[in-house]
């Protein structure tokens, strides 16, 4: 079976600094794949390279067998690869529902003439229904009409995921989804990510600092440091890998603790 995402020998140099160095990453279809590494390991750069926000210096990215290395970000999203941001990224000044409707752009484009001669509602009822469905799925139904920027941080992050889901992805890339969340919110997130894979059949890649979350939900993990591949394997293999433990200094302790999310 073709892997949903196949990154081959990807390299990104910023002047003298090599942020990502000949990195390979394979995400199997239907799996939750974690990417871990200390601060500055090149995780977010890797994400930006895959999502098309940055051009790699060399290397290739294949999405479901198609090379997307030089594609524009919106093309990549249209093809079915959506990403979220490390910061809470929502459209300010719009309601939660409008945030969804804007993102359901792929597949329902409007021409200028179509816009001028549309005397009905801006968004067809079927689209609103679909948007409501996604909001219910991520647990934001009750905030449907609230302004997006007034939501609590945890909810804004859920909305970020909902926005990505609204583009109809086959692979979802989550950039530190648990950052800034308390223990309770992290548990809800944990469940949501599982549901995305199990109920919607969407493969997931996540970059995360929260080791507990990563170890619990990921099928496979890739550990990187200084832009280099450190180890690849199941959570058990990674947890037992000495190089990873060295890079992290105290990962074992973190794993033993309950509910303390940095």
């Amino acid at each position: 079976m073709t892997p949903i995402l196949d990154v081959k020998s990807l390299t990104k140099r910023f002047g003298g600094l090599t942020a990502v160095n000949a990195l390979d990453l394979t995400v199997r279809t239907g799996e939750i794949h974690g990417v871990i590494g200390p601060n500055g390991a090149g995780k977010t750069t890797l994400f930006s390279l895959i999502a098309g926000a940055m051009r790699p210096t060399s290397g290739q990215v294949f999405f479901d067998g198609t090379e997307i290395t030089t594609w524009a970000p919106h093309k990549i999203t249209e093809a079915g690869l959506a990403r979220t941001f490390q910061r809470s990224a929502v459209y300010h000044g719009f309601s939660v529902l409008e945030n969804m409707l804007i993102s359901m752009h792929t597949g329902c484009r409007v021409s200028l003439l179509g816009a001028i001669f549309n005397f009905g509602p801006t968004f067809p009822a079927a689209e609103i229904e679909q948007a409501d469905g996604i909001l219910e799925f991520v647990g934001l139904s009750e905030y449907r009409d609230a302004q997006a920027e007034t939501l609590a941080l945890g909810h804004q992050r859920s909305l970020g995921i909902a926005i990505a889901l609204a583009t109809g992805p086959r692979l979802l890339m989550l950039d530190e989804p648990a950052a800034g969340m308390n223990a309770q919110e992290a548990v809800v997130l944990d469940e949501l990510i599982r549901k995305i894979r199990d109920d919607q059949g969407i493969s997931v890649v996540l970059v995360e600092h929260d080791m507990k979350l990563v170890m619990e939900i990921c099928d496979r993990i890739t550990a990187i440091n200084f832009g280099l591949l450190l180890a690849n394997g199941t959570p058990e293999e990674i947890a037992g890998n000495n190089e990873v433990i060295d890079a992290y200094l105290g990962v074992e302790d973190l794993l033993d603790e309950d509910g303390d999310h940095a």
């Binding site: 249209e78 990224a89 459209y91 300010h92």
Partner: protein, 320 residues
């Protein structure tokens, strides 16, 4: 918008249009001429808002109006086109020129766009001075034929007023429809978070170009209306000073809603007339107002009214 709101809105629009139709009957010729310019400016402010909703605050808009004006003048003088043809043609030509300009412009953002739009627009404006065999240089083009509608000479300000009113109503309806469509909403989303939009599958560069072209098309129509009324066109009318007045109208009105810039234009037009006696002080007054609004009312009159309305009805999220 639900049905009763739509009905209210339709009735209100009809009342305003009816009022505008009756208006010149009670006014002197000078006031009707002011109204003619006002209608041109209504199209202009709404079209400028159209491009700035994407977050692209630029200084090219007044020159796009000039492109429409020069196009209409040349088509009427040299090709003998009637005013029915020069007005839409001016819009199309302005949109085409905007497309060419947007090729480099869409590669810049924020402050870079602000300066680049001024530079490219100035290039266009200076070409009117430089290629004087075609555009008439400093003196511009004069004796632009004005024509007739239904046998009435458009030289009569009141007749011209009705033509301008019809064009303005059509333009506003078109712009309103685009503004409330998915296209308008995507434009507004770009100004809040272009990176998010990009990763949300929106072709940001396409939508920015489209906004600039649409706004420029309506600015071109406004330019054609102005030039036919004045009977002449010259590069001075589309310089930075005029552009700054346009910015002031839109900032005072606020870009949060479709009607904000029109409110700003009305208030500032009255202010402009009242300060006629203090001619030398006028730039100071207008500059002061711009600064005061940017500091204390960054969302303009539109934002102020919205706030007051929310306070009175004490509900959040009035924007539906």
């Amino acid at each position: 918008m639900n049905t009763s709101k739509t009905l209210q809105f339709a009735l209100l629009s009809l009342a305003v249009i009816g009022g505008m139709i009756l208006l010149p009957q009670g006014l002197g010729l000078y006031s009707v001429e002011l109204l003619n310019i006002f209608l041109v400016n209504v199209i202009l402010v709404c079209s400028y808002r159209m491009t700035v909703t994407t977050g692209d605050w630029g200084l090219a808009h007044i020159v796009m109006m000039g492109v429409g004006g020069y196009s209409a003048a040349l088509l009427a003088k040299d090709a003998g086109f009637s005013i029915y043809l020069t007005i839409p043609a001016a819009g199309l030509i302005a949109a085409f020129v905007a497309y060419v300009m947007s090729l480099p412009l869409s590669r810049t953002v924020g402050f870079g766009y602000f300066i680049a739009s001024f530079a490219i627009a100035e290039l266009v404006r200076l070409s009117w001075l430089k290629f004087d065999t075609l555009f008439g240089g400093v003196r511009g083009l004069i004796n632009i034929p004005i024509g007739k509608v239904f046998g009435y000479s458009l030289f009569d300000p009141v007749i011209y007023y009705y033509l301008s009113l019809a064009v303005a109503v059509i333009c506003l309806m078109l712009m309103f429809q685009i503004d409330r469509s998915r296209i308008g909403i995507v434009w507004r989303s770009l100004s809040t978070d272009a990176d998010l939009a990009r990763s949300g599958g929106i072709n940001v560069s396409y939508y920015r170009k489209l906004a600039f072209m649409c706004g420029s098309a309506f600015a071109g129509v406004a330019g054609a209306l102005l030039v036919h009324r004045l009977g002449s066109v010259d590069p001075k009318g589309f310089d930075l000073t005029t552009m700054i007045y346009l910015v002031i109208w839109v900032v005072v009105g606020g870009t949060g809603s479709f009607w904000g810039p029109i409110a700003g234009l009305i208030v500032m037009t009255f202010f402009f007339e009242w300060t006629r006696e203090f001619l030398a002080w006028r730039p100071l007054f207008f500059g002061g107002i711009l600064i005061l609004f940017l500091i204390f009312l960054p969302n303009g009159l539109d934002g102020l009214l919205r706030k007051l309305f929310d306070k009175v009805t004490s509900r959040g999220g009035a924007k539906q």
